[in-house]
């Protein structure tokens, strides 16, 4: 029974494999459409980020970490205490009458 099922599915797949659902592509207007699409195909921010390789990330991460530690050590006396202090320090930088 199982063998029959398998062979009928295999037969279907073998026949379907030989069928070209929509025939061959037409070359009419291909270049025009493609050029128009390329003209408006500016990469989004997410795509720019995605295009960065893991090697780039691996190189940049220690640099950013080192810069953060350097700034933190340099200003460790000025750093605010707790979340409240942090918020009030950042709020002081905003051009708002808080």
């Amino acid at each position: 029974m199982k063998h029959e099922d398998l062979s009928s599915l295999d037969r279907l797949l073998a026949e379907a494999r030989r069928h070209r659902p929509f025939g061959e592509p037409s070359s009419f207007g291909f270049e025009t459409r493609l050029r128009a699409a390329l003209a408006t195909a500016a990469p989004s921010f997410a795509e720019c980020l995605a295009s960065l390789s893991w090697r780039f990330s691996a190189t940049v991460f220690p640099v950013i970490l080192a810069a953060f530690l350097f700034l933190a050590m340099r200003h460790h006396d000025d750093l605010p205490e707790g979340v409240g202090g942090l918020v009030s320090q950042w709020a002081g930088l905003l051009p708002l009458p808080i």
Partner: protein, 199 residues
Amino acid sequence: MFFFDTTRFKPTVESELSESEWVVRAAGGDEEAFVHLAASYRPRIWATASRFARSRPELEDLVQDLLVKLWRGLPGYRSDAPFEHWVMTVAVRGCYDFLRSNRRRRESECLVDPADRRDDRDPADERERSRREAWETVRLLLEQLDAKDRLVITLLDLEERGVRETAALTGWSEANVKVRAHRARKKMRDHLHELGLEP
């Protein structure tokens, strides 16, 4: 008055370029070079994408989107892998994204594309008719599968790619491809039973 027509010689020079030179040009932002590459790879992308689209206009849009993805991704292409492999990887993953994003809409659409029926140039050709009917049945079975299973069956059983190649194109492990294919075929056989289509 001296006149020298440079355009007459340009095609001869460009036709002598190897594919890797076209790729380098295209990766550097040369649109002409990319259009040249797109024209040569389009039939292969079309053949693969035609297994996922439901109408010719949808297929044309899908192929166009895949070509734009290739254009955007070209600056990141590294020549350590064959260009054709990279092209087909981008195309296959683009088809997978297409399947996932269109699944809900596809479920509510009719199965057989009327344009596909009209495209039958010779209705007397029994063999072609049999192939088309087989494809319509297989498509009905594929519609029941999730996007990953459908992609695996399409690559393995319809495009006759090996397990290793399918794994490389999809980015999944070979074991994952084998297990998915086994489960997907079982689902297809079960559905074939439910439809009463097996002899």
